[in-house]
Amino acid sequence: MGTASTLENIDAVRAMIKRAKLKDHIFGLVGLVCIMLILLTLLILFVDLVVDGYPKLFSADFYSNFPSRRAAKAGLLSALVGSSLVMLVTFVSAVPMGVGAAIYLEEYAPKNWFTEIIEVNVTNLAAVPSIIYGLLALGLFVYTLDFGNSILTAGLTLGLLILPVVIVATREAIRAIPIAIREAAYAVGATKGQVVGQHVVRYSAGGILTGVIIGMARAIGETAPVITIGALTFIAFLPESPVSSTPPFINFEWLTSGFTVLPIQMFSWLSRPSSSFHVNAAAAGAIIILVTLLMNGIAIKMRYNIRKKIKWQ
């Protein structure tokens, strides 16, 4: 050993390295093309919608008008309000449940077949097609529990839909907290509840929130399950306001109200005979994408900030 074989053949070695590195460059290019392909698709899709919906996107009336049979007058107001209220129900139903489930799985659950079942369940639910949730809602909420096609039904359906997203995100956030932090808390005499409440939940709050936002962004654009529960409706008024100026200040009548949401509104405009509605549809599509982009953007920014602030050693 030790005789400098590489050195003796240095020219051959260099040529060989050059050949090998050529593959590096080719692959680098192919990879870039693949990524560009996807990014361009997103861009084309978005630009196309913005260009088509341009006249509507920048008109204030579009946001303050109710749907109408006349494309020029038709606006998004009831869909905007509907989406917001549905998201409220989704948030309230999915977040406490999802966070609780994640905490249980990460901090409490013993390692046994029972936990294993729950885990398989969660991963499984995450990949269940959204249309199945639509069927669940149709069979359970609409017909069995008789909620009708109300804000409550839609909110609960989407809540179940994003439950696994919230659980997975929360578990990841919790796992990022080093064992050492927990041991430190236990070592000064904290109880399990205190460790969970004062440390685990607190330090993972940012991560949980980003997961929730991402889940909500997905829920906002969901169409199929909401169509399944029969939400294609002409609604030209707003549900009862959840808050009022007279006692008891909040009410829940809006929960049973009919509603429309952004993707459904887009869908119903698209299926109009007159192509002048397609402008509205494009504008609605652009807004949905914009909202999801915004929400995802916020989530990413938050994740970044959290990572910068808390660097576990």
Partner: protein
């Protein structure tokens, strides 16, 4: 090594420990911790030093399936802290611990030190402030941080963080303090600071220190125990262990034949 002047603060008696995977990590350990003395635990990597140390505050309870056998008795009340009726939380309130890597909470400096007291239900602000100051002074950190108690603890250097963890452990007036290689993640200067601090605490507190640095053991401890593959081979005055070890394996280790 018998010494009539010594009070035993705690002792392991025929203590065995099994990890959940069945690994018999500690075998028939008998080890006294003398009151207000520093006991060092040395031995090659994997010999069970950390395992023994963490048994003293029932840290192993956090992971299901681990099993203790035998007793660890605390004096003067003669409680077997391994007893199923003894709440591990109570044990941890009497015995605090400092870890290998500094592990402050992502909270302010003040809240880190105050945490143990808060867990004990202390709400009186004055008292908290006093205790925090006292603990930080005890950990020789007060002068460096007194003007920024509300800063995030992560903004401190590694050595300062470790002293903060010591302050956190001191704040609750523990009867025993456990240290698991408290300096191995620190640079030489921070290490020297921590060692000095331990010297300051000597005589005031019962301490058990795991270290893989024999020089450190020699410098800071009163008593030293040498462990090897789960057995406690030898326990004696530090000077005696290093100068005239009785066991061949101890000698091999100290002279560097085993590492």
């Amino acid at each position: 090594m018998a010494n009539a002047d010594l009070t035993t603060k705690a002792e392991a008696r025929d203590f065995n420990f099994f990890y959940s995977n069945g690994h018999h990590a500690l075998k028939n350990i008998n080890l006294p911790l003398y009151e207000n003395k520093i006991t060092a635990l040395i031995g090659p990597s994997g010999c069970g030093k950390s395992t023994l140390l963490r048994s003293f505050n029932r840290m192993h309870d956090l992971y299901p399936g681990n099993r203790y056998e035998g007793e660890i008795v605390m004096h003067p009340d003669n409680t077997n802290i391994l007893d199923a009726n003894v709440d591990p939380i109570e044990v941890r309130m009497r015995i605090s611990m400092v870890f290998q890597k500094p592990n402050p909470f992502p909270k302010s400096i003040f809240e880190n030190v105050a945490y143990g007291l808060r867990v004990r239900g202390e709400k009186n602000k004055r008292l908290l402030a006093d205790k925090v100051e006292e603990a930080l002074k005890g950990a020789a950190l007060w002068d460096e941080v007194k003007d920024r108690l509300q800063d995030l603890a992560f903004n401190l250097s590694g050595g300062q963080q470790q002293r903060l963890c010591i302050a956190r452990a001191l704040a609750t007036d523990p009867e025993i303090m456990l240290f698991d290689e408290p300096t191995s993640a620190l640079d030489p200067i921070a290490t020297a600071n921590i060692e000095e601090l331990m010297n300051d605490l000597r005589g005031k507190l019962t301490m058990l220190v795991v270290t893989h640095n024999m020089q450190q053991a020699a410098r800071v401890s009163d008593y030293t125990a040498y462990m090897y593959l789960g057995d406690l081979i030898e326990h004696d005055k530090t000077g005696d262990i290093f100068i005239k070890p009785k066991d061949k394996r101890t000698e091999d280790y100290i002279t560097g034949r085993i590492s």
